[in-house]
């Protein structure tokens, strides 16, 4: 018998041949398939042909007004010129280091949590969850320890978007856990109250809930009681989102077998210890994908604070396009906002996937 080199045997085609076959199987199985491929690729090339010259080749990056920009390209000068305002809103320029410091602290905390194998992770986690928000609140609002007070009406831009997103996430996460426990604890009073809250919030549009907080809620407070608009908005959004978190957690709870409870009872654990040590860790681990999905929609929903007149990233860019000096820069503004949100959401979903993998138990 003569040895046939592997690359020449019919069952094991050469590398180039294999690539060709794969190409054929994936893109040109038959005439219709081939035409579809050509159409899709042609469309993609045409879009690139439209976008690249506009966004990069003919774009103007710096300038003091729309007049400085080329006609047939993007006017990124609108973004670079007002970048500070888009990030910090109307925060006094001498005080912006406070925002940077707060953001930096969060970034350090999150990076520390993301490093695998770092010791004291639970402590760092608790610090990021409970201590940092208070520190950040104090840094941003000021008014004590020599920090000049900065009213919430001066907050804006990306800084406001992230502040609202993190505080709504923290509040609604805890509130969602409480509502979930209330709905499933078997005590009628708690069950009715939680179910009512959850179903009410889930059935209403967020715009409606925000309007309610701004127009109707003040009627229920003593007259002359000064309600901060931002605080009202954050509270209303947190209540709204907590209903969704509660339903997510309830789904995770239902996936837990009866044996877990029975084992806890046999060990002599009470209600709180059972939930804190055994049930909730499993619920949280099972619901990571849904929690991430909820967080992504929460971040996108922060743009809705536009309807109550707060200047988050989208609204401040939108308002900037009305400046006579920059008229006609709407598309550039929205592309910038879109990129920021898209990167945040995309990173979150990727982080969620890796978290899911690392939490998976054999």
């Amino acid at each position: 018998m003569t040895a046939v080199p592997i690359s020449e045997s019919p069952a094991w085609p050469a590398a180039s041949d294999r690539a060709w076959r794969r190409l054929k199987a994936n893109y040109f199985r038959n005439a219709r398939d081939g035409m579809t491929t050509l159409f899709v690729v042609g469309l993609a090339l045409y879009l690139l042909y439209l976008v690249i010259p506009w966004a990069i080749l003919n774009a103007t990056w710096f300038g003091a007004g729309r007049a400085d920009c080329q006609q047939d390209g993007a006017c990124w000068a609108f973004i670079t010129n007002r970048f500070g305002q888009f990030i910090f809103g109307f925060y006094p320029s001498g005080q912006q280091w406070r925002v940077e410091l707060a953001g930096g602290l969060f970034a350090i905390g999150l990076i520390a949590l993301a490093i695998p194998g770092l010791p004291f992770k639970p402590t760092i986690g608790a610090f990021v969850l409970f201590v940092l928000p208070a520190v950040a609140c104090f840094l941003l609002a000021g008014g004590a320890l020599g920090l000049a007070p900065v009213g919430t009406e001066q907050w804006g831009g990306l800084m406001l978007t992230l502040t609202v997103a993190t505080s709504v996430f923290g509040l609604s996460f805890v509130l969602g856990l409480i509502l979930m426990l209330g709905r499933s604890c078997g005590m009628p009073v708690f069950k009715i109250l939680s179910t009512l809250t959850i179903e009410l919030c889930r059935g209403l549009p967020l715009v409606m809930v925000l309007f309610m907080a701004i127009t109707m809620l003040p009627f229920f407070f003593p007259s002359g009681f000064d309600l901060n608009k931002l605080a009202l908005t954050v509270f209303a959004m947190a209540l709204f989102q907590s209903a969704f978190f509660a339903e997510v957690f309830r789904g995770g709870l239902q996936a837990i077998g009866k044996g877990q409870y029975e084992a806890c009872t046999a060990l002599g654990l009470g209600y709180w210890k059972t939930h804190y040590l055994v049930i909730l860790p499993q619920v949280l681990r099972n619901t990571v994908p849904a929690i991430i999905n909820n967080s992504i929609s929460l971040i996108k929903d922060t743009t809705l604070i536009m309807v109550v007149g707060l200047f988050d990233l989208l609204n401040i860019v939108n308002a900037g396009t009305a400046d006579p000096n920059w008229l006609g820069s709407t598309l550039e503004g929205y592309v910038f906002v879109g990129l920021v949100f898209w990167i945040i959401c995309f990173c979150l979903s990727r982080c969620g996937e890796s978290l899911e993998r690392s939490l998976r138990t054999g």
Binding site: Y27, V41, V189, F220, P222, L304
Partner: protein, 381 residues
């Protein structure tokens, strides 16, 4: 379970609930007393009598007749109709788009599936409000002015003031009753025959509606004077006659469909992938073509998985239609909770009426979903 609790736990069981109830009651009582005081100082009183007052403002777009003489109740009804209009068109368009993209996503053709993946990843991760503003302020504003409008067959016009197309109205002078009676009778007969022969409510509905449409065409052919057709024509700076879809409505519907379509595409992909591969392979082994294997074996099973989350997505679309306020489309929240509330100051009544309406529509959609879900369920012995 209560009876087996030890005395200490029984106390906790009752005590915590009674205490919570007491706190909640106290809070509600406090809020109500504050409310009464606030209403007193502002000289307001509760009640829905304001619904009969004249509204005295104009509404930009309405599918129902409206004038400055209409009451606040009319404002409510028109807002609701506009919300439902956006929801119905949006749900239909998002479903068609989402199912097509979802099918493209599982296609064996890599170019097609990657294009679908890019669409889903791009539009799912952008805020809906931004997308609505993008369509309204950038895409639709870039269309030419009415004088330079795109003209299709001299009947359809597209400009930055909207899309105009011919519309028909019924001539009130024409004697309608015998025709309507005849067409409805025919529709009923066909629907009953359809149900009896095929035992399917869908077939009955389709044949009934088909009879009405065909009857309408026959009538129009025999008596052209019965139906007035109005064709849009340029009149000064804008078109008149015909039916116009304003950019506000178009931007809202397009953005809602594109955004929700991306989510629906993911649902469709998940549902198709959840049907075991063996099902498709068995169908192919039985000699069914790929198309038939999908239509008869895979799709019915994937429908069962798809329906509950799909209904949820449609509920989301209904709620998201309230973003109309960003572009000034007069939906329920915009005209009623926005304009009418500003005019009357009746925050409590208006907000609670609108809340109840949204909850009721949500319940109706959920009930329809439950019916559909029940009809796709496996019938076991």
């Amino acid at each position: 379970m209560r009876s087996v609790l030890p005395p200490r736990r029984r106390f906790a069981w009752w005590g915590s609930q009674v205490a919570t109830l007491a706190v909640v009651t106290a809070l509600v009582g406090l809020s109500i007393s504050n409310l009464v005081q606030n209403l007193d100082t502002r000289n307001l009183k509760l009640g829905f009598d304001f619904l009969n007052q004249q509204a005295g403002f104009e509404i930009g777009f309405s599918i129902l007749p409206f004038s400055a003489k209409s009451t606040f109740w009319d404002v409510f009804v028109i807002g609701l109709a506009n919300t439902l209009l956006v929801t119905v068109i949006g749900v239909a368009a998002a479903t068609i788009l989402g199912v097509s993209v979802g099918l493209a996503r599982v296609s064996a053709n890599r170019a097609l599936s990657n294009a679908a993946l890019i669409y889903v990843e791009v539009f799912r991760n952008l805020p809906l409000l931004m997308q609505i503003l993008l369509w309204y302020n950038v895409v639709l504003r870039a269309l030419p002015a009415p004088r330079q409008a795109y003209d299709f067959w001299d009947a359809l016009f597209l400009s930055n003031r909207g899309l105009y197309f011919p519309w028909f109205s019924f001539n009130p002078v024409f004697s309608w009753s015998p025709w309507i009676a005849a067409i409805l009778l025919l529709a009923c007969l066909l629907a009953i025959t359809g149900y009896v022969t095929s035992k399917s409510a869908l077939a009955a509905t389709v044949s009934g509606l088909g009879a009405i449409v065909i009857g309408g065409f026959v009538l129009a052919a025999i008596h052209p004077e019965a139906i007035d057709v109005s064709i849009p024509r340029l009149d000064g700076f804008d078109f008149s006659e015909g039916f116009v879809v304003r950019p506000e409505l178009a931007a809202l519907v397009v953005a809602l469909s594109v955004y929700n379509g991306a989510f629906i595409a993911e649902l469709v992909r998940g549902a198709i992938e959840a049907v075991g591969r063996g099902q498709k392979e068995a169908a192919l082994a039985l000699g069914l073509s790929r198309r038939l294997a999908f239509k008869l074996v895979v799709f019915p099973q994937c429908l069962r998985i798809l329906v509950p989350p799909l209904i949820n997505q449609h509920l989301n679309l209904l709620k998201a239609s309230s973003l109309a306020i960003a572009v000034g489309y007069p939906d329920l929240v915009n005209v009623f909770v926005g304009t009418a509330l500003n005019q009357t100051g009746r925050a409590l009544e208006i907000v609670s009426l609108t809340m109840a309406t949204y909850l009721a529509i949500g319940m109706v959609i959920s009930a329809i979903g439950a019916r559909v879900n029940a009809s796709t369920r496996i019938v076991e012995r």
